[in-house]
Amino acid sequence: MLLNSKSPEETREFGRHLGLLASPGDVYLLVGPLGAGKTCLVQGLASGLGIEGYVPSPSFVLVRELKGRLPLYHIDLYRLENPLEIENLGLDEYFYGQGVSAVEWADRVLGSLPEENLLIEINYLYENSRQITFSPHGKRYEGLLRAFKNQLSKDV
């Protein structure tokens, strides 16, 4: 599924809709260059999960746990480069827990992340616009994307 976003606000709104539909154990993997809007989309996701307050970038701290309708585990692999080291991080505790995991820079270790996931790729088009590709891996995420599409069409 392809979506075009014309602004950070619109990217955030896509994230919010996803947050409204999120279930325990969901894993969203975010991929895209610096400044594409990965954190921005997660900020929307957080607001959809009923999380109040700021959602700052976790690049430096690696993981931030946020409390909402469901816990959100905001994970950022930006500062990590060695896949072997990342496998030792104990991230499985988050992935197979009762919260929603959103992983920025997931492409650094795609092989060691859960096989079932929603892959979200954000790429630059021009100025403020971005192309966002949602690829479901697994039944749960196919259903989620169908519901997501319905939500968005209702919203317009």
């Binding site: 260059p33 610096l34 400044g35 954190t39 921005c40 700021y54 700052p56 970038s57 690049s59 430096f60 701290v61 690696l62 993981v63 931030r64 746990e65 930006y78 500062r79 990590l80 480069e81 060695n82 080291e85 030792n88 991080l89 630059y124």
Partner: protein, 322 residues
């Protein structure tokens, strides 16, 4: 009163003994930067293992055999859980063995107290700017240990912005010093946006990072030194102007800088030339993570009779509360 401070929240394994919250008798730091430089950043599993290897030697150097202690202060958060517990368990063990009172310290408030380790005594009310890899917080203090959070980052922290800018420009790790060094060779000739967020004391450096990325990917012949100088200029402009505006609004007598980015020379110069009130900053070794600041802050908590039990635990997502 002599307090032993222990800090293991992130990269550094550190221990220090501080007298009366002001005078560092020892200040030992075993840095992991060399190990992390190979990975281009912090690797928590590496950090945790390194803390375990380093904590005892660091403690042995920080506490001479004849050193009498009156209390122990240890960082409980924010930080990486696996790293924090190494320091915590060491602190608990010493507290139990020696019968010394123990207090848990918020790493962020301790950064502010690094300013009491210098010769000048900060005067209240004051505005403190904590700028590091994980934080850009603007704090009002009217008295000891009471914090009013005026603003914080909405997305990227100042140190993180430097780190990502260094990565974009291919300047290496750690990003802050790399940008500062490169900026010294260039001129701030490139126009970059200043995220003011008018009417708020919050910070936002994400858009500035995006602007730099777009610039570098669009134009092939961008001079990395000029780009570094321009980026540093934009970040320090925003930090200085917003801090000064808060200092004027609240009638601050002093401005305090804290955190790793407070070691940036451009930031210090700009504050000193533009601020009407005295600006205090720790010496560079006490800007980055250290244990003297933990002991300095712990002294005030212990003096108030605070005492933690052995159930004291790490709080990875601890923040400064108003």
């Amino acid at each position: 009163m002599r307090v032993l401070g222990i800090e293991t929240s992130c990269d550094e394994t550190a221990a220090a003994v501080v007298e009366d919250g002001r005078k560092a008798i020892t200040n030992e730091i075993a840095s992991q930067i060399d190990i992390h430089a190979r990975f281009g950043g912090i690797v928590p599993e590496v950090a945790s293992r390194q803390h375990i290897l380093a904590i005892i030697p660091v403690l042995e150097r920080a506490v001479p055999a004849d050193c009498e202690l009156d209390g122990i202060a240890v960082t409980v958060g924010p930080g990486l859980a696996g790293s924090l517990i190494v320091g915590l368990n060491a602190a608990k063990a010493i507290s139990l063995a020696k019968g010394l009172p123990l207090v848990g310290i918020n790493h962020l408030e301790a950064h502010i107290y690094a300013n009491w380790l210098g010769p000048v005594t900060p005067q209240f009310p004051l505005i403190a700017l904590i700028v590091s890899g994980g934080h850009s917080d603007l704090i009002l203090m009217r008295e000891h240990l009471k914090y009013v959070v005026l603003g914080r980052t909405r997305d990227d922290a100042a140190g993180e912005a430097f780190d990502k800018a260094a990565r974009i420009l291919g300047l290496g790790y750690p990003g802050g010093p790399a940008i500062e060094k490169a900026a010294f060779k260039g001129k701030p000739t490139i126009s970059l946006p200043r995220p003011w967020l008018k009417g708020s004391y919050d910070f936002s450096f994400s858009g500035l990072k995006t602007a730099l990325f777009r610039l570098v990917s669009k134009e092939r012949d961008v001079d990395p030194y000029d780009a570094a100088a321009s980026f540093q200029e934009a970040v320090t402009d925003v930090l200085v102007k917003k801090t000064l505006s808060a200092a004027r609004e609240y009638g601050a007598r002093n401005i305090l800088l804290a955190g790793g980015v407070a070691a940036n020379k451009k930031l210090r110069e700009k504050f000193q030339s533009e601020s009407p009130m005295p600006v205090i900053f720790p010496e560079p070794v006490n800007c980055t993570d250290n244990a003297a600041m933990i002991a300095a802050c712990g002294y005030l908590h212990l003096k108030r009779g605070e005492k933690a039990g052995l159930e004291l635990d790490a709080i990875p997502d601890l923040s400064l509360q108003s």
